[in-house]
Subunit: 653 residues, 2 copies
Amino acid sequence: MATDNASAPESGYVQPEIDVRALAEVLDGGYAGIRDLVRTNLVTHSSVLDEADELGVDAFRERVREIVVAMAATGQTGMGFPAEYGGGGDVGASIAAFETLAFGDLSVLVKTGVQFGLFGGAILHLGTERHHDAHLPDLIAGRLMGCFAMTETGHGSNVQALGTVARYDAATREFVLTTPDEAARKDYIGNAARHAELAVVFAQLEVGGTSRGVHAFVVPVRVGGETAPGVRIEDDGRKMGLNGVDNGRIRFDGVRVPREALLNRFADVTPEGVYTSPIDNPDRRFFTMLGTLVQGRVSVGGAGVNVAKVALAIAVKYAVRRRQFAAAPGTEERLLLDYGLHQRRLLPLLARTYALHFAQDVVRAQLHEVFSGTEDDPRARRRLESRAAGTKALGTWHATRTVQECREACGGAGYLAVNRFAALKADSDVFTTFEGDNHVLLQLVAKGLLTDHASEFEDLDQLGVVRYVAGLAVETVMERTSAHKLLERVRDLLPGGDEWDREAGLLDPEYQLAMLRYREEHMLAGAARRLKHGIDRKQDPGAVFSQVQDHVIALARAHVERLVLEAFVEKVRALPEGGNKDALGLLCDLFALSTIEADRAWFMEHGRLTVQRSKAITREVNDLCRKVRPLAVDLVDAWRVPPEMLRAPDLVG
Amino acid sequence: MATDNASAPESGYVQPEIDVRALAEVLDGGYAGIRDLVRTNLVTHSSVLDEADELGVDAFRERVREIVVAMAATGQTGMGFPAEYGGGGDVGASIAAFETLAFGDLSVLVKTGVQFGLFGGAILHLGTERHHDAHLPDLIAGRLMGCFAMTETGHGSNVQALGTVARYDAATREFVLTTPDEAARKDYIGNAARHAELAVVFAQLEVGGTSRGVHAFVVPVRVGGETAPGVRIEDDGRKMGLNGVDNGRIRFDGVRVPREALLNRFADVTPEGVYTSPIDNPDRRFFTMLGTLVQGRVSVGGAGVNVAKVALAIAVKYAVRRRQFAAAPGTEERLLLDYGLHQRRLLPLLARTYALHFAQDVVRAQLHEVFSGTEDDPRARRRLESRAAGTKALGTWHATRTVQECREACGGAGYLAVNRFAALKADSDVFTTFEGDNHVLLQLVAKGLLTDHASEFEDLDQLGVVRYVAGLAVETVMERTSAHKLLERVRDLLPGGDEWDREAGLLDPEYQLAMLRYREEHMLAGAARRLKHGIDRKQDPGAVFSQVQDHVIALARAHVERLVLEAFVEKVRALPEGGNKDALGLLCDLFALSTIEADRAWFMEHGRLTVQRSKAITREVNDLCRKVRPLAVDLVDAWRVPPEMLRAPDLVG
């Protein structure tokens, strides 16, 4: 183990020592109590990891339901609901609980998300007192299971164009729900195939012949265990993973529900058939409704980060145990983690996992503030929605990538179902798709940046964005994004003014932040310029948007990475002096520099990295990997993934 | 569909039209007959794609065995064996058959590979007439099932260090096989858990108290369906995928086999207990034995490419069918493949799939020549082994990456088991590990380059490589790799001598090839210099190797990508003028430029790309994506994946 560490000691460098317990406290933050409750519950039900392999689909679905209900009884899953209905009244804690649950079986996680986040969240945020009184106590306790019927076969990303219709019949004071065609059937709906009694159904509301856009309705889909009349339910069948969740399809053949079934927080229909809403603009109304459901994205992003932790904990522990190949005849074979390449494969992912963890702390806190009303204004909501979209995309892609790399790093043993990766990989794969396709989410983030959140988030189509940007003089855009000002500021940040290329600055967080800020601002101005240029040439807005789309996505990614680095840097700065601060400092440098390294072509292309400095960054990343290597086991231990959840007997014993 | 294509027409550019049938003939090449037989067999047994979901593990294993035996009866799986034993006598055809089989269920593929490639191949290549006479007819017909017991729990990559022992007992003229400890149990062995009667067991041979290194023995592991005495077999249980293959563990407790059980092509033991071998050096002997099994790597690499084809065929067909989001209110939603980002996600992968297909043609032809004896000398063998290792690594990583991107590009529907991705992803995941871990394989490729194949391929440990390189003056290495000469040559290739940066050259294949050649040669010289530098500083060889490892792997990758581009360029040049040549020309440009783009930081760092030219390459890649977009469906149709194999009713109808 000491071979590499000893090979390149710098004068004056002292390897930090980690206080694992104290670091674990930093990571759990203000939610240690609820996280420990979840850890205890996970261990109590740890047999589910085996049962996922052993039971058939039907039995496994029942088992997962049982566990979800059992966990509900401990208070774990109801943290986000008001205390008067039996909830915990703590939105942040509900997210922390969900994140921690991602250490365990992911069917349990997703069923929990469907029941309490999507279904319960819709009742809570879109409904009013009558719905709360009628449903919250039962659903919080898990006595009433429900589903969230938004996605249709034909529309997953563009849900404003859903096909299901809810027509108001003033004569009977009922809504009539209809599935007009196959594309409009509800699809992939969790809890639909077996367990849901109620569905929150999103449908195009028609009142008096006028279409009012998408609204949500509470619709019984099962009565006494039987499918309700007029409802047709189909099982989506086996999936790549998450087979403890009963996803299904729902069609409505003229299903009638009373007027009170409309979740009427943002719009209502009088008995006589008059449509009313406090929000005039239909787009704005729709996205206001959607915006209340942002917790789903915050939850899934955090879950993705914790999935990555489980994979890394296994791979790192395996790599300090497994030996392969001796350097020379007669010598002992070397530990995998002493190979430079193995360090390169795992340790930047470890650093990024820490970075995303601290970024998740920020978005969770913003969610808590907005939904607890301590800071709830339109601007804060838009900021939250943008941030949630971005961290969800980066967190879930990180999970996919990390699970894959860790599986490969554990070789053939990683392929056996008994060792956790098979489940981790199959179950987490869809995280990049559900709660918003990641590319679509990054596009939303970019739209917000391009329009400076000038209008409601999400409510501009491609033409709208192109028009908006085209309507600004490029000078205005440039001024607003202030690329040249930023460059000045960046230079000011560095000691010696224009000494941008000083070698000494690589490990200066201000330098690292300046690099990511510059990239973001430059990309923003560039995307705006390109959009305007296309319009000036009278091109079709769709074509303009299509051609600029890769810039737009790159911009969003750059934005989110900047937010992530800021969160990490701030966290490290706030720590008391000592080994933990030093260790996290190394990790933060590794995250920052490996992020810059990954995009170093862009920085060179835009004059922000010389060739020499670019190479120096690569050397520094290698050096940081060697410094982090002896800390790796402590760093994964500090996540406190319960050992039972690692469940990889061939890999970690 | 025409939106984007119409948006940026170049003067003089004519969109090529593809003759799909003629292109399919180019792709099937000289093996159309056997490939069509496999396609027919796949369609005959297409129900296996459903059965993989529906049957339990035990029933599915039996079903897969049945299909393998049924396919054997058509002659499909015996192509690589001599005609006198009932085989087809055509090594190249046996690889082509295996590649094509990868369009279908991958348990069938892998069980075929285990039985006929690994087990049958070992009997054929390591055994002599007595083994051939005794076993080939039965195993070719599928009457005798066998397994290939090399990997152990403790040693997968470093198989020279296996723990199983075979001691010669001269008194009884038998070998005694023993598993000394848990790490030495055979593990992940396909066919072991249920079906194998015979095993080819790799064990450390001891004769008269002297260890002679790893040799292979034919050992009965089941007799009349019962586990043979002294043999203990354990089931590896469920895996992430490939659950139609019965992988297991085998231990030997003093199992006795007759002297004739030694596969004695390269070494023998006389009845009296005298060890003889035509190859003196034990390392060389071991790697000569391993080298005869190179067909496994060639097969798996080609299978990976065809797995990618299935995924891309589904994703491309879905993307010209699925619409989402309208550019402006009241207009039709746009097709996914008309989005610039979607083109960027799928079309470079499509281009790379074509490139790897043609590179596979080359390695398959080399294998055929070596094993048909038309060109079989040590140098040709080493060239083949290096190439097989490299294309296996790139082909299987390409499969993993492509399946993942295509699944995400098909959204939630891509996650349902009924739509092929679940199986493709789970089944192909281990391709990057078996038949040699990809990183280990690339290391072998690099070792060959660094030592100029000075000694037997694979037989230098880290110290050996470091010593070898250190033994050369750096000037010698530099001279041999001729970085400066290459640069001159590269410049000569471009019109106008030193006009390296001419915009016009981007689509010149000579320019593209020169870039990849320069990168490879420069990396080779750099890795050698770094190794020597470490030794000069008296560092531990293991540490030196560890620190240079990322350069070494990058070198190998650069080498293989250069080979792949050469294969593609040569293929395009050889085509007759017409639409197909033009279309493949676009695709070859897209592969070359997206490959350079992906590593453009390196090219800038090493003075081979200006900032302006780097940006121009990115623009050109985007432009090529737009030009390939209208050809995409024809390009995937030309692969002739049987429609039944797409099996994605929600995605491609």
